[in-house]
Amino acid sequence: MATMTETTAEVIWVSGPVMRSNGGQVLSMYEMVEVGAERLIGEVIALDGEVATVQIYEDTGGIRPGDPVVGQGAPLSVLIGPGLLGQIFDGIQRPLNALRQATGVFIGRGAQVTPLDRQKAWLFKPRLKVGDTVAGGDILGVVPETSAMEHRVLAPPGVAGEIVYMAEPGAYTLNDAIARVKDARGRETELFLWHRWPVRQGRPYKERLLPTEPLITGQRVLDALFPLAKGGAAAIPGGFGTGKTITQHQLSKWCEADLIVYVGCGERGNEMTGILTELPNLTDPRTGRPLMERTILIANTSNMPVAAREASIYTGITLAEAFRDMGYAVALMADSTSRWAEALREISGRLEEMPAEEGFPAYLATRLAEFYERAGSVITLNGSKGSVSVIGAVSPPGGDFSEPVTQQTKRFVRTFWGLDKELAAARYFPAINPIDSYSEYPDLVAGWWAEHVAPGWQEMRSQALVLLQEDYQLQRIVKIIGEEALPDTQRLTLAAARWLKEGFLQQSAFDPVDMFCPPAKQVKMLKLILETFRKAKEVMARGVPFYQVRELGELGALMRMKSAIKADELERFDELEKSLNDKLESLAG
């Protein structure tokens, strides 16, 4: 790419991240360009007569009218190949480690770095051989990239023909051709360990599947009440400090995906540093390997250039789709989609487009839809199953969910984890408000739970939701007349809701025992609480007054069991259930 050096056009106007050039007739929409002596990277975002408008992904200070604009002949693309895992990139896939080598601890401009290491040799094992026919999306061979994961080398979508050369098993760099394909017209194409894909274009697949397998997160309120399915999309909106980032970090660590793509989009530098420091030291419970080996980070922090922030979301989801096409279950976190929307707004403002709501461009909804549509559970081009689940944080101004980004996002996601400022203020975490939140996947994933964990999952879930709903209604009365004034049965409902909220739903990300709760333990805990509630109701019906139930010190165990009982001691839940049952029974006796 960088071999093309003839000037295509010149800068004629520049302000902030937006520049106009006189290349309107020679550049094409979304074409990448290099600008100025430092070859800053940009992308054509509007064409009008002689004028091509370009957004620039780096600081534009010092760019002058007359500076050269060199078209690259291709749209903004990512490189897909071995070397992605465990890496951290900026919004346009420049590796931050390489940038640091190039410009130091502060991110400078114009550094020419390649996304993947071209010198590094990878062990390649072919899966196809000479004479085989090959089509786009087929797996040419595999590279054991990390001990947690193999990189499956894909034939680029669009390729079709017969293999006329296949590399022997052995070590190859990204510069080496590993296969040659002859198409129907006899034209030969070399294939490599890598290929490029334009970020704004979703990758093709064969067929979309209904998502029926839950994405287990180990977070009880999510898995048990508001599940996300593999291939589904969830939004997590909340004011500042309500827990969007911690929830996404928790999911990055513990959710049962094969690969995590974490996009830090316009957020804090230290949060990316936090992941970088933490993940290598955490072990994936499923592979026994450091979690970093199944993670790709994209970091375009709040103080990095705003145009690259806009691109970061697409860079992230394109990489996620590529691994989906290798047959993996991928989960993408985007923190925060609001900052991405604001980047859109800022660029749109500089283009002097007509604003719609709150200054956002009218195409905000379309862009959001396009993004969330790229989530999905699919049959890939090569016939395997893969999925991309998308979890997008939303940062509504003033924590008010009626703003445009939250409202538009709601149209395109089927799981909504609404965070609540008041819960966060009381340090009740995860501060997910069970009344505002919803999921449209329970019916789809109930079969999985019944088969793999417990047949009664869906029923227990419904009971828990009913209890929370009743509690919500009663709390409104309590606020006015106090709890003492309620009849005993209602006071028991309030008590049981408290067991549920404090004993089950509340889960600290920092508790070494409780930060991850496997499905089997979740079901045990929920069953114990509902069973205790049922038993208490029963003995009260037999004449036991509420105060006797309340004063039963043993019930405190319900609040402590999450940390007191470990995932490998599940039988202790049965013992606890029996002893609480006996205690309640003895009140009646």
């Binding site: 302000s15 200070g61 130091g104 601890v105 400090g241 970088l276 200054g359 009381a426 106090g482 003492e484």
Partner: protein, 472 residues
């Protein structure tokens, strides 16, 4: 040292720098338009010479083939279209940085106010700085004891954090900040510390309060003050925090100092930004503030932290006044979205005579969990803090209920929680401005008031902790 922020990066070829033009096409608000320009770059700094010989600074906001739009950091009073001379410098706005700035007092544009000479820079640095590469940061986790229970116990500050104070007009936030500065144990402990103080549009008294406080604690020689006072040009406020942080970065990352950067009042900064944006005719977003207020504030607040291989650090203590006491106003809102927590003051507490009037419930320190615990503060810290939050939140709810149904109609358990709430405010929260509590004192005090609660409410601390610290 290839690790330095490169200002050289942005220097054009020498033949293009230093171009001068006589005459302006127009003056609109703080914007000057110059025509006939050649070779002018975006964001380069500009000197504007008025007919009376005075000189001001500006920067290029937009530049086309013939025309440049300049933002003037100063007053347009006295500028004429015909006789104003504009000199493009060919480099971005820079500040001279030097260790000799310690002990100096400058105005908001970096001119001496203390009668001393103009600082001679050891280096000249881009005012806007450059983003720290996330791979080069060190995650902050060293506990700073401020001696204030509401902060140390429940919203712990760590070195390298950006933790703002959300104030309300008429509340003693400056006194609180001064107390933190006096007591913060980062001072003195490691020898090399510095305070960079940036005032944006504040009263003389406030600047004096801090000066006296620095003097009283004998640290004045380790302080650089940049003062844009209430009667100074508002637009200079856009420069002041950047100037201060450019110096802070030099002191921290080139000269190994632990820097505490105090920025007050960020609300005045934002107001200046809004004024400029509206004179540019930009499409406003919420409450007339520009859509890029978030990114703009981030370019200030993100200049805090620690860097691998450098022994210094920048801890930011910005202050802002919430317009209308409203935490959802764009200024506190966007700040809270960027900073690593916030200390929120409360008018109700202040009216009840409680100092410091910190409402812990909306307050937060996001870096707390890594800065506390065994080996840093104490093993029970995190649970005790969480328990205090849960109980105080409940106490506040019961308080509003009691206001309706009367305290007598409360259950005995609720009455206990209510008493806890009072003890919390009177014993834990309240302390004297010169009272400096150790973290052990703070945590012991917490256990003392937790005793007010019904035993069954102590669900966030473990049985073992109750035995060890809660008297069984």
């Amino acid at each position: 040292m290839n690790d330095q922020p490169k200002t050289e990066n942005r220097k054009p070829e020498t033949d293009l720098s230093g171009r001068e033009y006589l005459g302006l096409k127009s003056i609109i608000g703080p914007l000057l338009v110059v025509t006939g320009v050649r070779g002018v770059g975006f964001d380069e700094s500009v000197e504007i010479h008025a007919p009376d010989g005075s000189r001001q600074t500006g920067r290029v906001l937009a530049v086309g083939q013939d025309e440049a739009v300049i933002e003037l950091f100063g007053e347009t009073v006295g500028l004429s279209l015909q006789n104003t001379r504009v000199r493009f410098t060919g480099s971005p706005l820079t500040a001279p940085v030097s260790i000799d700035l310690l002990g100096r007092i400058m105005n908001g544009m970096g001119q001496p106010l203390d009668g001393g000479p103009l600082p001679v820079g050891e280096a000249s640095r881009d005012l806007n700085g450059q983003p720290i590469n996330p791979t080069a940061r060190t995650y902050p986790q060293e506990f700073i004891q401020t001696g204030i229970s509401a902060i140390d116990g429940m919203n712990t500050l760590v070195r390298g954090q950006k933790l703002p104070i959300f104030a309300m007009s008429g509340l003693p936030h400056h006194e609180l900040a001064a107390q933190i500065v006096r007591q913060a144990r980062l001072l003195g402990e490691e020898g090399r510390f510095a305070i960079v103080f940036a005032a944006m549009g504040v009263q003389h008294d406030v600047a004096n309060l801090f000066r006296q406080s620095f003097e009283a604690s004998g640290v004045l020689n380790n302080v650089v003050m940049f003062l844009n006072l209430a009667n100074d040009p508002a637009i200079e406020r856009l420069i002041t925090p950047r100037l201060a942080l450019t110096v802070a970065e030099f002191l921290a990352f080139d000269r190994d100092h632990h820097v505490l950067a105090i920025l007050t009042d960020m609300t005045n900064y934002c107001e200046a930004l809004r004024e400029v944006a509206s004179s540019k005719g930009e499409v406003p977003s919420r409450k007339g503030y520009p859509g890029y207020l978030y990114s703009d504030l981030a370019s200030i607040y993100e200049r805090a932290g620690k860097i691998q291989g450098r022994s210094g650090s920048i801890t930011q203590l910005p202050m802002l006044t919430m317009p209308n006491d409203d935490i959802t106003h764009p200024i506190p809102d966007l700040t809270g979205y960027i900073t690593e927590g916030q200390i929120v003051l409360d008018r109700g507490l202040h009216q009840r005579g409680i100092y410091p009037p910190i409402n812990v419930l909306p307050s937060l320190s996001r870096l707390m969990s890594d800065g506390i615990g065994a080996g840093r503060t104490r093993e029970d810290h995190s649970h005790v803090s969480s328990q205090l939050y849960a109980a105080y939140d409940r106490a506040r709810r019961i308080q509003s209920l009691a206001a309706i149904i009367g305290e007598d109609s409360l259950s005995s358990g609720d009455r206990q929680v209510l008493n806890f709430g009072r003890a919390f405010e009177e014993k834990f929260l309240r302390q004297r401005p010169e009272e400096n509590r150790s973290i052990t004192q703070t945590l012991d005090l917490a256990w003392q008031i937790l005793k007010e609660l019904p035993r069954g409410d102590l669900t966030r601390v473990t049985e073992a902790e109750i035995k060890t610290y809660g008297g069984g």
